[in-house]
Symmetry: D2
Subunit: 472 residues, 4 copies
C-alpha cells in the first residue's frame, strides 16, 4: 500500500478476463489491462492463461510492473493461448501474503479452475464452517477459497450450473472472473455493488473487466455493464456471449466508485466518473458556499470536485499544492514526527495560496490526520483562511463489500462531530456534501452504507466472525 | 539442483520436527537442523512454528541459507514457541514451484495443520480421484496435499486417530512430520523405506528428523529410530513420547541411504553409514580386484568406498581428483561442449595419477556421461590405465519411494550391458558391486528395487497415472 | 530515466550540502533533501558525510528511495556527523554507469575531497588533455573528475584558494557543492545558468541546494540565492557564511528552469516558478488566442501554463487527460506499436473533451511524437478540434550547460517549420510562445540558447571533442 | 570471505590475462579462468576486454558465479575481442568495497589502461605521498591505484618502457597483468613471491595467470613460469611473446602457496603442489611421530599432508571428519556460542575416530580457536587421544606480500609456546613441521617470512604508514 494514502479508503481489487476465438497474446492483453486497473490494488498482481490444454499462472506481491518482469511474461507465453484472467489486489495483512495473491487456481472434479475476485461475502464464514465440517481444508483465510470450494462441491453439475448454484448461496458485494481450460465466466452480485463491464475485441473475442478503462489499451470496444445478479460467459461452441440472470437485480452500486475509486476516465453503469466528480463539486458549492479567493484541490483525488466547486462558485481554480511524483516508498524512521514528514514529502504549497482565502477540496476524510497537516501547510505558506470542503458525507460505518475504510474506531467521523473535526484539522470552516447531494450528483441508486449504516447486501454474523478468529 | 550432480540419484526431501515442554527458540533449532539436512534437498526450505495459539510459516525456493535471511528468521520469532516442523526439498519441475514448497499448512476442521513429507505414495492418484469426486480441490499436484485432505476428511476423529486412519490407506515409502497448534506427530511407512529418527532435547523435549546428524547441532541426544509402520507423537498432557504401531512392520529401508544419500556421520537403523561405505568398498575389492598402483575416489561420493577398496586390496589410496568447492551455479552457455566443461569446472586431476594404473571408485552410475568425462580427464593427466569400480549394482529401475533416479530411458544400465557401459565411458575395466555384496556390506534387509525391480511397498497403477496427467 | 518522458528535456542533476555547528543526523537531512530534488535526476543518488575525521559515502544507480535502504542509511550514521553533500543524477550512457554516480570522492594532497556537480563545462576536454599530459589518470569520462583533479593540482594552496583558482579556469554552466573533512563549499558559474540557493538550519547551520524546495522538509529557512560567479563556504572557525566573488557576475539563468524543470513550489533568483508558469500561459493566450470550449493541460508539465491560458482567455480549464500514477517502468515489448502504447499507458482522455474544441497546453516539444499521440487520443475521445499551445519557443539548439535536449537531428523544430510540426502532430492549430513572451513572463535576463543558439557561457571546441571521443 | 575459514591465512588475489591473434570469446575464456582461480579470492571479481578500440569492464563484489550473470557476460561480448584481463579478490574492509574491486581501469596519456594485481608493495605509501604532492588524486586506498598513477606519470615513454620504469621503483611481493587497448603485459616481482605462469592457446594466443590450473579449462598449454623480475608482453606486431628482465631475479617464492593456497592440481616454479603436500606430511611423520590408530585430515586443507603422514608412518588414513558442502553463509546470531556452532555446521565427526587414537593433520594454525573445537568434537565422538600435527611452522609474523594472516596479536603462535597452544586446543600432543622440514619438502628456496620474520622483499616504513592512516 502506498504509505502516503493512509488516510484514504482502499479498494481491495480489480478483476479482468479475456476470451479470444483464435490464439492471441492473452498474457500481453491481460498485462496491459491490469496496468490500467492498477489503482484498484497495488499489493499483488496475477495472471492465468490457457490454450485449452495447458494452464499457466504467474502471481506475486508487488505492482504490475514489478511482478511482470520480461522473464515472467515469457513464462506466460502459450502458443495457442485463447483465454485468461487477471487480478490486482490490495491484500490484508498476514504472515504469508504471497499465498493470498490471486488468481487462485485449483484442481477440482471439473479440472483446473482459476478465479479472480473483487469484494466480500457477508456469509463467507458460515459457508466455510459448513465446508470444514464436510472435510474441506483451506490454505488461506480468504473468501476466494471458500467460493471455489463451494463451486467444486457441485461435482455433478456443469461449471456454469455449479457457479450459478454457488452464486445463489453467497451474499455480499463482489465481482468475479472465473475460468477453466476452455470457458470464461464472470458474475456481479445482485446489488451490483462492485462494477463489472463487458468489452469486445476486434477479433470478436470478449473482455470482462472491473472498469472500461482497460478497453482502449487493448483495442476493445465497450459493450455494456454486467447486470447486477447476472452470470455471463462465452460459449465455447458458438463463441457468443451467454447470460443468465441468477439473482433478481437490486442495483445499489457503491457511491465511492464515483467519489474516489474509479478512474476519472471511466463510465460505470452509464454514469461518467469525471462528470460526476464535477457535479459533486458543484453540489458542494451550492450546499456549502464560502467567501474565498481561490479553490485548491488536494491532488489528485480532489481535482474533479475542485473544478466543479470553482465553476459553481465562480472562485478561481488554482494549483495550490505541488505533488511529488516520486513520493512513494522512501524509508523514514517510523516516528510521530516522521508521519508528519510524509505529507511534506508528498505535498508542498505553491505561491497560489499566499495571502489568499483558500477553499481546499478533497473527496473524503478517514482519520483526519492528513487533512490537518495539509491545512497547516497551507497556512505556513501564507494562506489567510483555509475552508475545507469534502465531496462526500462523513464516513461513519465499515464497508463489508470489499473496501478497507479502516476500523470503525479509527474513523474520525464515527466518533466526532463535524465541528470537532474542523477544530482537529485546524480549518476555518469545514463542510461535507450531504447524502442527497451525493445522490443528485451521481444521479442513480447507490450504496451509501459507509455513510449511513444501511447495508443493502446484508451484514456479517458477528458471532460467527468471533469464532473464526479464535481459530486462525 | 546442483547442476554438477546431474549424474547422481537425487533424494527428494528431509523432514524435521521439534517439541519443547517450555518456550524455546524453536525456529532457531529448526533452522540449524535443516542446515544439517541440506544434502537431502536443495531446492526449497520451510519452517512452521507455533506457540499453541499463533502459527507462523516461512518457506521459499532456495538453500536453507538463502531462504532463512535474518529478516525471515525474525518473522518466525514467537515469544512462547514450543513446537514446529521443517522441511528441505528437491522439487520437481512445474510453473509454480514456489507453491509446492513445504511445510504445507491448511485450515481444517481440526484447526491449522502443517505437514512435512519425504517420499511418495504409490496410490496417491487413486485417493486423489476419490477426494476430487467428493468435491475436494487441490492447489498443487503433489502427494502432500492428498495426505492432508485425507486426514481432514476424518473430521469426526481426533488428530491422532485421523492420522492413523489415513496412514493405513496410503501405500508407498515415506516419512512425515505433522503438527497442529499443540501436537507434534511423525510417521514412517511400514517398510521403513525412508529414514526417521527420534532425539531428545536437554530440556526433555523431542525431535523427529530424517537423520540423526541434526542432534549434535541442537544439543539433542539420539533416542531411537522410528519403527516401520509406527506413528509417534508427544502427548500434550504428559509431555511424553506416545507410540502406536499403525501397520505391521516389514522393514526394507532404502539401500541407497547407505550407498550415497545419508551423511557419512549418520547411523540409520543401527548401521553406521561411514563404516558401511568402507565395507561396500571392501566387498567391491573382493568381488572385483585389479592390478593397480593407486585407488582414487570420485570426491566426495566415492571416498568411503575408495578407502575400503584400498584397505582390502592393499593398493595405496590417494587424492587424484581436486574438487573445486566453488563449482556451483556458474552460468555456462548451455552447449554440448559446455556440459563437458562443467565436469572440468568441478574436478581436475592431480599429479597422483600421472603414470599410474588407477582404480577409480564411485558409488553409482546413472547416465554415464560424467563417469566418461572423468576417465578421460585422468587419462589426459597421464593415467596409464583407469579401472572403474562402483560400490552398488547397475541402476535399472525407477524408484517410486521418493528418489529421482531419472527416467528409465536415461538410465544407462537399463539399456546397456556392463561391457557396453565400460566401452562408453572409456574405462580399461568396469565392475559393479553385486546385490549380495550390498546386502553383506550393509548387513540388514534393504530395498533394492532400483537394482532389481522388486518393489516391497508396491507400484503405482499405470492407468490412473496416465489419466491424471491428462488432467494437469 | 522515466521512459514515458522521452519527449521532454532532461535536467542532469541536483546538488546539496549541509553544515552544522554541532553533531546532527546529516545523512537524514541529506536524504530528505535529495528526495525533494528527485525531479532533477532519477538515475543515481549519493550521499557523503563526515564528522571531521571519518568520511562515509553511499551512492548507487536508482531513485533516492531505492538507493537509500534502511541498511544504507544506517551505514551513513556517524555519531558526530557535522557536514555532508548529496547528489541526484540523470546519468549518460556507458558501460559502468555505477562508477559515474556522485558525489565523487578522492584522496588528495588536501586530504579527502568530495564533490557533487550539476551542469557542464565547455572547456572540460582542453583541461583534461592538459592534465593527462601531466600524468593524471581518469577513471570516468565525466567533467567532475576533471574539476577535482584541477583543484588537487594546486597542492600548495588552501582548499578555498585552490577551488577559487580552478573555478576561474572552468567555463560553462554549472553549480557544485564540495567538501573536505571540515569545510563545506559551493560555487555557481558566472552566468548563474544552473540554480543554487542558501538556507539556514534552526541550529545555525547552513544548507546549499539546487532549489529551495528542500528547506521546508529539513526545517531550514531560505537565506538567498548564490550569486553568479560566487564561491561560498562555511568558516570552520566562526561557523559563519563566507563569500568571495570569484568571477564577474553576468546573470543569464536557464529559462527552462521556470518553463519546466524546477518544482512549481520553488522560487529561483527571486522569481516564483508557479506564478511564472501562469504568466507564460497568459502571454501565450495573448500571443496565440483561439476560439475554443476548454483548456486542457498535458499533466503535469502543462498545468501552470494551462491555468494562465484559461485565465487570460476566459476559456474554462478542465481535466481532459487522466494521468496514470503507476505509469513507470512497465515492461513492454520494444516495438513501434509499443511506443504508441506507452502514451496510452500514461494518459487517457476524460469526458471533459467530448464534443469540445480543445486548447491543449504543454511546456515544450522535443521530438513531437508524444504530442501527436495525445492529439490523436483527444480526437478519438470525441474532441472536435485540438489547438496545441506551447509555453516556450521551438527548441532548435543543443544545451551545453547540463541539459540533455536530445541530439540536434532529433529536435523536430531544428529541421521543421511550425506548420510542418502542426501537420506532423495532427493539430488543428499550433503556436509556440515567442522569446520576448518568455522574457516578459519570467521577467529577468535568461539563457535562451536552446531556442536561439546564442550561448552566454561559451561553446565547446568541436575539434577537441572529436579527438577525445576517438580516445574513449 | 567464507566465515568458516576465519582461522586460515587468506590469499588476497588471483590475476589473469588473455591475448588472441584473432577475435575470440575473450570474456568467456576469462570467466572460466577466474572460476579456476576462485580459491585465491572470494570477495570480488572483474573482467576487462577490448577489441582494440572499445574497452568494456564488469566487476562487482561476490563470487565469480554471482558477479558474472548471463546479463553481465552478455555486456562483455565484443564482436572482435582479442585481449582482456581478469581478477578475483579477497578485499579488505572499508566503506566502499565495491570501488576497490579490480581490474582498475583509467584513462591516461597512454589511452585506457587496465590492471589486475595480486600482492603488496612495501613502499606504496612513500610513492603515494610523492604523487599526492605532485597533485595526483586517489579514489581508493589501494596499492593498485598507486601503481597505475606511477606508470601514467611517465607520459613520454611507451607503455612497455613506462611499466618497466615503474616496476623498478616498486618493492614488495606481487604479480600483475596489465593492458591497454592493444597490448597485454604481465610482471612478477624480483623475488617471485607471488606466482605467475604463461600458457599458450591453441590459436597461438597467450595466457598469463596466477596458477596453471586455468589452462585445461580454456584449452591452453603450460609454457613456463614468469621469472622473478621479468616483464613479459605480447608484441602487437608479431603476436610473439616478448620479455625483459627488469630486475635481477632473487627467487624466494611464498612457501604457503605449496602449504595451503595453491590448488593441489597446480605446479608452480616446477614443483607439484599435491606431491609437495604429501612430502610435507611425510617430513612431519618423520619429525613428529606418534603411536596412533588412524590419521585424519582436517578437510580439505589437511588431506595431502595426512596422506603423506599415513604413508610415512604406516598408520591407516581415514575420513574422520564429514565436511558439509553447504556450510557457507548461513545466518547465525553472532554470539560466542554461535562461533562454536559454525565449526559444527561445517564439520562433524564420523565413526572412523570412535575408540581410536587419532592423528589430526592440518596445514596451519592462525588463531587456534577452530583447532580447539575440532579436537573437542573428535573427543566427543569417542576419540581416545587426539594428536595434532601441523604441516608448517608456527606463524609468528605478518605477511607484507599480499596475504592476510591476521594482525600479529591475533596470531596465537606469536605470543604462545607450542606447549601453551597444545593446552589451549586440548590436544594430547601437538607438533609443527620445522623450517628445514618445509624446505626439504618443497625442495627450493622459499619465503618463510611469516614463520621467521626475515623479509626477502623488504618491509614497509612504519612511520609513513602511521602518517597515512591519520589521513584516511
Amino acid at each position: 500500500m502506498d504509505e502516503f494514502n493512509l488516510d484514504k479508503p482502499r479498494e481491495e481489487c480489480g478483476v479482468l478476463g479475456v476470451w479470444s476465438p483464435e490464439p492471441v497474446d492473452v498474457a500481453g492483453l491481460l498485462h496491459l489491462g491490469l496496468f490500467a486497473l492498477q489503482h484498484r490494488g497495488q499489493e499483488a498482481a496475477g495472471i492465468v492463461v490457457s490454450d485449452g490444454k495447458e494452464v499457466r499462472l504467474e502471481k506475486d506481491l508487488g505492482l504490475v510492473s514489478q511482478v511482470f518482469t520480461p522473464e515472467r511474461l515469457a513464462k506466460l507465453q502459450l502458443e495457442g493461448a485463447r483465454l485468461g484472467i487477471g487480478h490486482v489486489r490490495y491484500s490484508t495483512t498476514g504472515s504469508n501474503l504471497r499465498f493470498n495473491a490471486q488468481p487462485l487456481t485449483v484442481r477440482s472434479s471439473k479440472g483446473i479452475l482459476a478465479i479472480a475476485h473483487n469484494g466480500n461475502f457477508v456469509n463467507a464464514l458460515e459457508i466455510r464452517q459448513r465446508l470444514l465440517s464436510e472435510g474441506a481444508v483451506f490454505q488461506t483465510t480468504g473468501d476466494t477459497e471458500v467460493m471455489i470450494n463451494l463451486i467444486a462441491r457441485y461435482s455433478q453439475l456443469s461449471l456454469v450450473e455449479a457457479t450459478a448454484r454457488a452464486m445463489r448461496e453467497l451474499k455480499g458485494g463482489f465481482s468475479i472472473t472465473l475460468m477453466n481450460r476452455q470457458t470464461l465466466l464472470a458474475f456481479r452480485d445482485a446489488n451490483g455493488v462492485r462494477p463489472l463491464v463487458i468489452g469486445r475485441l476486434e477479433n470478436g473475442g470478449y473482455v470482462f473487466a472491473s472498469e472500461p478503462v482497460v478497453f482502449p489499451l487493448i483495442g476493445a470496444q465497450f459493450v455494456r455493464d454486467v447486470r447486477p445478479g447476472e452470470l455471463v460467459w462465452v460459449s465455447t461452441e458458438t463463441g457468443e456471449l451467454e447470460s443468465r440472470q441468477v439473482l433478481e437485480p437490486a442495483p445499489t452500486p457503491c457511491a465511492f466508485e464515483w467519489i474516489y475509486f474509479a478512474r476519472s476516465d471511466a463510465t460505470l453503469d452509464g454514469i461518467d466518473v469525471h462528470a460526476a466528480r464535477i457535479r459533486l463539486g458543484e453540489e458542494l458549492a451550492r450546499e456549502a458556499p464560502v467567501e474565498a479567493d481561490v479553490v485548491v484541490p488536494v491532488p489528485d483525488s480532489g481535482i474533479g470536485a475542485a473544478i466543479g466547486y470553482s465553476r459553481a462558485s465562480g472562485i478561481p481554480f488554482d494549483y495550490g499544492l505541488y505533488k511529488n511524483p516520486y513520493a512513494g516508498r522512501t524509508f523514514i524512521q517510523p516516528t510521530q514526527e516522521a508521519r508528519a514528514l510524509k505529507v511534506k514529502l508528498k505535498l508542498a504549497a505553491t505561491s497560489a495560496v499566499r495571502g489568499k482565502r483558500v477553499v481546499l477540496v478533497d473527496d473524503s476524510i478517514v482519520r483526519g490526520t492528513t487533512s490537518g497537516r495539509i491545512v497547516r501547510m497551507l497556512k505556513e505558506a501564507g494562506a489567510r483562511e483555509v475552508h475545507v470542503r469534502i465531496s462526500s458525507p462523513p464516513i461513519r460505518y465499515p464497508c463489508y463489500y470489499g473496501i478497507d475504510t479502516a476500523a470503525r474506531k479509527q474513523l474520525i467521523a464515527a466518533t466526532h462531530s463535524v465541528e470537532e473535526i474542523r477544530a482537529y484539522i485546524g480549518a476555518d470552516s469545514l463542510a461535507f456534501l450531504s447524502e442527497p447531494g451525493v445522490k443528485r450528483a451521481i444521479g442513480g441508486p447507490v450504496c451509501l452504507a459507509c455513510f449511513n449504516g444501511l447495508y443493502p447486501a446484508g451484514q456479517p454474523d458477528g458471532e460467527l466472525e468471533k469464532l473464526a478468529l479464535e481459530d486462525t
